[in-house]
């Protein structure tokens, strides 16, 4: 039921004009939207009204070339970011650290919900969470953290050297110089070669699901949540 309401609310929000959205953005600037971070913004479709006390989210399409970065997956395997992102599945990506108390618990909760809402299609979407505090977040700590959020087999957490984590953050324009400065950003890419859809703010699981659904990748899952 709540899924239906959220989807309806999301659809309404999409109807907001770009102008209205940008006005809402300005009104909500104190809540964390950085105008400079959106110079690459190609289309802003969504912005919840601050009076609704819902997260203020902006959506943009951006091409991010992914550099060669070596990371360590939560199972201890050395991997490259490119290989992990380009395994053929749609990707949903965020940045977290395990001792974070403000932003990350909610970001991870949203991923957990997304997994749940994907239902039977869960393993056809790759959820990727990269640590911004890689020296504290060892593979073991990441596994423990993943367990807290009931991460399934298609949701992996990544660590690595400080340089690798920083390079990954820079590659997606989320680097703020310090883990405590990070802001909630979620990136979705439905198919290799497509631009990334960037959500600044706490994109809800329904928004992410809609994004995945919009490309027809996980139609079965979305239709099941509508019932």
């Amino acid at each position: 039921m709540s899924g239906c309401i959220n989807i309806a609310a999301t659809m309404r929000a999409i109807l907001l004009s770009v102008l209205a959205a940008s006005l809402a953005l300005r009104a909500a600037s104190a809540e964390g939207v950085d105008a400079h971070a959106h110079q690459q913004l190609l289309a802003s479709e969504e912005a919840a009204h601050p009076q609704d006390a819902l997260p203020t989210v902006t959506r943009s399409l951006v091409n991010y070339p992914v550099p060669a970065i070596r990371l360590v997956r939560d199972d201890g395997e050395d991997v490259t970011l490119i290989d992990e992102l380009n395994d053929g599945r749609p990707v949903v990506l965020n940045f977290i650290y395990t001792t974070c108390t403000g932003i990350c618990p909610l970001s991870s909760h949203i991923f957990s919900q997304l997994q749940h809402k994907l239902g039977a299609e869960r393993d056809r979407v790759h959820l990727v969470s990269i640590s911004v505090d890689p020296e504290e977040d060892t593979p073991l700590r990441l596994r423990e953290y993943a367990q807290q959020y009931a991460a399934g087999p298609s949701w992996q957490h990544y660590t690595g050297t400080v340089a690798a984590s920083t390079a990954a953050q820079r590659a997606f324009d989320v680097y703020k110089g310090d883990k405590m400065g990070h802001t909630p950003v979620t990136l979705v890419r439905t198919a290799l070669g497509d631009p990334w859809v960037r959500f600044d703010g706490f994109a809800t699981a329904d928004m992410l699901l809609k994004e995945l659904h919009g490309k027809g990748q996980v139609t079965a899952a979305v239709s099941s949540t509508r019932q």
């Binding site: 964390g32 009076q51 609704d52 819902l54 108390t101 403000g102 405590m180 909630p184 706490f202």
Partner: protein, 537 residues
């Protein structure tokens, strides 16, 4: 609903200070998200997203002090009674929470009733909705009264050692410390405190009347040196006694040798911040709050060696490892930690205790025993390393504790230098040279003789970190808040002496997390080169 509010208003109108048991119950609710009946606190964000238990606890975002925090562009406002029950004001005399205060929207003062509404329904006293991040909690009246009572008293108690014109600190010296090292540390502390107080102008009017001016600069810092005596079992009692006689706001730096555990326990039991002591065997206790260390010391070295042994064996476990240490020294705990790390993987770990003051023969026996093993690990001080025997067949890997052995100055005999791999939980000398210009320059200006570079640099760092953290507290001298400021600010530092970087976050208590393994490329001298990347085990 109206009835409920009226009833509640009646109840809260009579709110009295919480009794001790109620305070403990309220604290569990505030810090751990445990309701008075023992069940988990549950909340919901707008849109129906649930949040439960520890994740829902107030302290999780608003911190133990209740002073809030800034994360990215998200401002978690303070929620102490002092802040909530008066309006957000532009009156500078009311300014007590820097940053948070300035960025919070203007609002009217809360009453107990409007605060209950905010917690239940997410509406502030002016009828505006609270931020999306703040969950709503359907607390019953009794629990609400308990929570509001807790917030009213939170962070209001005068902190020990924080007086209107003076901040008292202590440093702790255990009796097993080399007096040269103790004096080296005290020299830095005394100069730092003297320097700090050089800016104090005692004849100025009491500027705390005009709170627009940061009157922290006018508080003099006073240092008490708590030198312990006798066996470790008596230290805790000695410390409690000293603390009663000389209440201090925090313990800064300090120096220990074989054990620091009694000091750690004392700080925890007195809720006393204990910042960055010179100890190579800290206490690892994840739930403890008040002690912050530079690193896990020899325990970190043990994990680095375990990591390295596994990697060298192609992610398999080494078959046989021989460890040598002196009973009663740090190496005993480190050897236990390494044995535990290798346990369960089928490795046979032999512990070889050095007992003799003339250990050449024992060392020869240990080396012979290790000749067929995968690794020999030496948790030894320079005087023992110096007499390692020549002409013995060494195993494939020989690891030496850098912290115990004296880093690049370790007096390894020439025949051991080729095989030896040393754990080195710092940047290498060549890499840290620019960063070290700052403390070394300061020592020169202060005419401080550098007799133990690492201890003196770490002491200088500890003082600088304390000064920075205290500087952002304004007059919010609450011990928990000092720790929270260090958690937030530490990773912003660039000048970190021996360490490539320092960083904490909520709950993290070890600021540097990794180590190099180095080797000695020359038959003599102090040049070391890395043998692989920085390892974070």
């Amino acid at each position: 609903m109206l009835a409920c509010v009226l009833l509640a208003a009646g109840a809260w109108g009579r709110l009295k200070p919480l009794s001790e048991p109620s305070l403990n119950t309220a604290e569990s609710l505030y810090r751990q998200g445990v309701l008075p009946d023992g069940k988990s606190l549950r909340g919901e964000r707008q849109g129906g997203e649930p949040i439960e238990g520890q994740a829902a606890a107030c302290a999780n975002c608003h911190r133990r002090s209740g002073f809030g925090v800034e994360e990215g562009r998200i401002v978690i406002p303070p929620i102490t009674g002092k802040y909530l029950f008066r309006g957000s004001s532009t009156d500078a005399r009311q300014m007590a929470h820097p940053g948070s205060e300035a960025l919070s929207p203007q609002r009217s003062r809360y009453s107990s009733e409007t605060l209950a509404r905010a917690i239940r329904e997410g509406i502030d006293p002016d009828g505006r909705k609270l931020d999306y991040l703040m969950p709503r909690f359907a607390l019953d009246d009794a629990t609400m009264a308990l929570l509001i009572g807790y917030l009213k008293q939170l962070s209001t108690h005068p902190a020990p050692g924080a007086l209107t014109d003076i901040l008292q600190f202590a440093t702790i010296v255990t009796p097993d410390v080399d007096p040269v090292k103790r004096d080296a540390m005290l020299d830095v502390l005394n100069h730092f405190f003297g320097n700090k107080n050089a800016f104090y102008r005692g004849d100025d009017p009491p500027l705390q009347r005009e709170r627009r001016i940061h009157f922290r600069v006018l508080r003099r810092w006073q240092l008490h040196v708590w030198e312990l005596s006798g066996p470790p079992e008596t230290w805790e009692a000695q410390l409690h006694k000293r603390f009663k006689l000389e209440p201090v706001f925090a313990v800064i730096s300090g120096i220990g040798a074989k054990t620091w555990e009694p000091v750690h326990r004392f700080c925890e039991s007195e809720s006393l911040p204990c910042l960055l002591p010179n100890v190579d065997l800290p206490v690892v206790a994840e739930k403890d709050f008040y002690s912050v260390y530079f690193s896990r010391g020899v325990l970190l070295e043990a994990d680095v060696i375990a990591h390295r042994l596994r990697n060298d064996a192609g992610h398999a476990s080494p078959r046989r490892v021989v460890q040598v240490f002196r009973p009663g020294d740090l190496g005993a705990a480190a050897a236990q930690a390494l044995a535990a790390a290798l346990a369960g993987q089928g490795a046979t770990v032999t512990m070889h205790e050095l007992k003799s003051r003339q250990p050449a023969r024992e060392l020869s026996a240990a080396a012979r025993e290790a000749s067929g093993a995968d690794a020999l690990v030496l948790w030894l001080r320079p005087e023992d390393l110096k007499v390692l025997p020549a002409g013995v067949a060494l195993p494939k890997s020989v690891f030496v504790s850098g912290l115990m052995g004296g880093l690049e100055k370790a007096p390894l005999p020439p025949s051991w230098r080729d095989a030896a791999r040393m754990t080195y939980p710092f940047d290498l000398p060549a890499q840290r040279v620019i960063r070290m210009n700052y403390p070394l320059g300061w020592f020169r200006i202060q005419h401080i003789a550098v007799v133990d570079e690492r201890i003196q640099t770490d002491t200088y760092l500890a003082c600088s970190i304390l000064a920075e953290a205290a500087g952002t507290m304004l007059d919010n001298f609450v011990p928990d808040y000092l720790i929270e400021r260090v958690e937030v600010e530490l990773s912003h530092r660039i000048i970190n002496g021996y360490y490539p970087r320092l960083g904490l976050a909520p709950g993290q208590r070890f600021a540097s997390k990794g180590a190099y393994v180095v080797r000695f490329p020359d038959p003599t001298g102090t040049r070391v080169v890395t043998d692989g990347d920085w390892i974070v085990p």
